[in-house]
Point group: C2
Chain length 409, copies 2
């Protein structure tokens, strides 16, 4: 959760190419149906190279690009990211691995950088081979834009069933210099058509070695993407990449101290905002629901409790129905290992206190009005300790069922 | 899962009063709206007493009747069960405990048996005090029927948002005597209006001490109610009661040996059938979905994998949409701790093989036709070991959202 001392977000975020040291190119290769953003291949290009860190899905069915990119990320030096939307290259066996490698090779040839410095990501249908001829042409086109104007809208090229583009950015001063952190993401449930994916690309002009980036990215993901649940599913393709160009001239050499803390906070702020944008754009979602649990016996208990509330279908349908249903909230927590005592707990929904050691009398109509907003929170105080956690989710509507039932393999 | 040697189910089950040693009475006390079965208070009466065992919800927000009944069940001797539908007497604090005790006392007076031998159960809205005057009158009426004709339809008096009554029974021979096990249940998601409950009452004319019943009931519940998931919620009021009248004259004194095994199997068969009936009547469900996982590294892995598939919203919406979506199935397992290897796994949906070490070509139209049935199965063979598990669930439809979003506290 962004505290008051957190760096301020730039309204609407920034295109990644506005961060010094990065250029973007996109193309429409015909992998997705036309009309759906008209972009389905993208290249993020760091002409002078970048140090890099990455976090990947833990799903055992990890897709080919994840398997390939893990090795690149481990080396920590990256000159480009190549990505396609519309086909996830997941559950595609040996051919899928070869296709992911081919994507790297084509990008390498088109950009003139070593293939070993290229991260690859895919999102879309699973279980189908990539249409390599289309992708090959798309990568060449995208690379042409990346090395030319460099102002391609990468945030558009990664969308599948997302309804909106998602960006977040912030700037902060560090030793008299201005440093920028900007990110883009996609994801709106695990879908499109078999499942979707959270892809997040974050860039900064900071100068920092890969080891420092890793130390910042892991906790930032823990507090953001890992606190996000649309339908409780973790995809085969989820990944977050962080690239640092060094163009600001400001260097952070170690993963400690006030400069590092400032950077870590900025990165976390950007990641949290990206996660919130995903939840708000959740499949069929009508609202962003932020679940705050305080007073848990431990941080772990708080996380367990917040996640249980956020994943409860009963709570999510209640939020859709604008019903401040404390019974569903407390029962969701009661089922978990997280310690709870009905005689102590306090619950607010949409800012309306509904339970405080016992059910409270509420004005249902006024509460429903508050829950009609596009952003609502559920606040639980267990009054048992100091554990706190926040989880972001969305409500569960008819449209979630429609979107997910109507697609046919 | 019922094996071939399992005792045969009696089609449609039996009313509990057809098991020697048990009588039933019901009444309409006006706790629920009229029309909803017209019965909302019930009494199960064992004039000669019964030994008893019980399994209760592990939800920390356990309702007052659960707290009270735990003590009665621990003593193992029961003469009656008193139950109401329409109000769960949950999250009601001290007053709730007193009300549950009052229900026992009224039943005690009306039936002429000690209050310490009466189990009490409630299901319905949470967080509201029981309407005690109505309930008091209802218990007297139900007791009158129980001690009179004794043929009240208890399976009707426990329903809330359930669409159908749910019974299951089987008879088996034991040392030349016929023994009957009959059960009733209610539950269709956690709902109505805040949440609903799985209440299961099972009776037998076997003669067995409480210790033996406990040893049989716990694993039977593990294989049935605990393998059931409509929306992943465990209610504040869930309980299963097993009462043995001894009227068959057949005694099982120890929790081992072939007689005990036969009884345990019969009890498990009845519980599994009750669980299947709950899943089939799940909120908004159009079909029963049985998830079978085989070849897991361990029984625990199998259970984890089967539950993940059964609880996946993506799988449940795919089943509603009649889509044999192996990608969602494998990805649901891939997210868990259960070991999986895409290069070994096999998946069938609705009896149609859809994945076998790789995606299979399928006739989507014929597969969709098979998935249109009222009962479908998802079969996964992980080919990694001998672990097996079965979990029962239902599909996720528009109506689930409707039912759960439209209720207002």
């Amino acid at each position: 959760m962004a505290s008051k001392s957190s760096p301020k977000l730039i309204s609407g975020g920034l295109p990644l190419h506005e961060v010094p040291g990065f250029r973007c190119g996109t193309a429409y290769a015909g992998i997705q149906k036309p009309g759906r953003g008209q972009r389905d291949v993208g290249v993020l290009y760091a002409p002078d190279g970048a140090s890099a860190a990455a976090v990947f899905t833990r799903n055992q069915a990890a897709a080919a690009p994840v398997i390939i990119s893990r090795k690149v990320a481990a080396r920590g030096l990256v000159s480009a990211v190549v990505v396609n939307a519309g086909n996830a290259n997941a559950c595609t066996g040996k051919r899928g691995l070869q296709d992911a490698r081919t994507m790297m090779e084509v990008a390498s040839a088109a950009l003139g950088v070593p293939a070993t410095e290229i991260l690859v990501a895919s999102t879309g249908v699973i279980g189908r081979p990539l249409p390599m001829e289309k992708i090959r042409a798309g990568i060449w086109d995208a690379a042409l834009e990346a090395t030319g104007s460099g102002k391609g809208r990468l945030e558009r090229a990664i969308l599948t069933t997302d309804l909106v583009e998602k960006r977040a950015a912030c700037r902060f001063a560090l030793g008299g210099r201005k440093v920028t952190v900007a990110g883009i993401t996609k994801g709106s449930g695990m879908i499109a058509p078999n499942m979707a994916t959270t892809l997040s690309f974050i860039v900064t002009d900071l100068d920092a070695p890969a080891a420092v980036l890793r130390k910042a990215l892991r906790p930032a993901c823990e507090e953001s993407f890992n606190c996000l649940t649309v339908d409780g599913e973790a995809s085969t393709n989820d990944c977050a990449f962080l690239l640092a160009s060094g163009h600001s001239g400001k260097r952070i050499a170690r993963a400690s101290g006030p400069s590092f803390d400032r950077f870590r906070k900025a990165l976390t702020t950007v990641c949290v905002e990206l996660a919130r944008r995903i939840a708000r754009d959740g499949e069929g979602a009508t609202k962003l629901v932020t679940v705050n649990v305080a007073g848990a016996r431990s941080a772990r208990d708080a996380r367990t409790a917040a996640r249980a509330v956020a994943e409860s279908l009963l709570v999510k349908t209640a939020m859709f129905g604008c019903d401040p249903n404390w019974g569903r909230i407390l029962s969701a927590i009661g089922q978990t290992e997280a310690k709870m005592d009905l005689a102590r707990a306090r619950v607010s929904a949409g800012g309306v206190p509904v339970y405080d050691r016992r059910p409270l009398r509420i004005d249902a109509r006024s509460a429903a009005r508050k829950l009609k907003r596009r952003e609502v929170s559920i606040d639980v105080d267990l009054r048992l300790g100091k554990g706190r956690a926040t989880v972001y989710t969305c409500d569960l509507s008819y449209d979630y069922v429609k979107i997910n039932a109507e697609y046919h393999t």
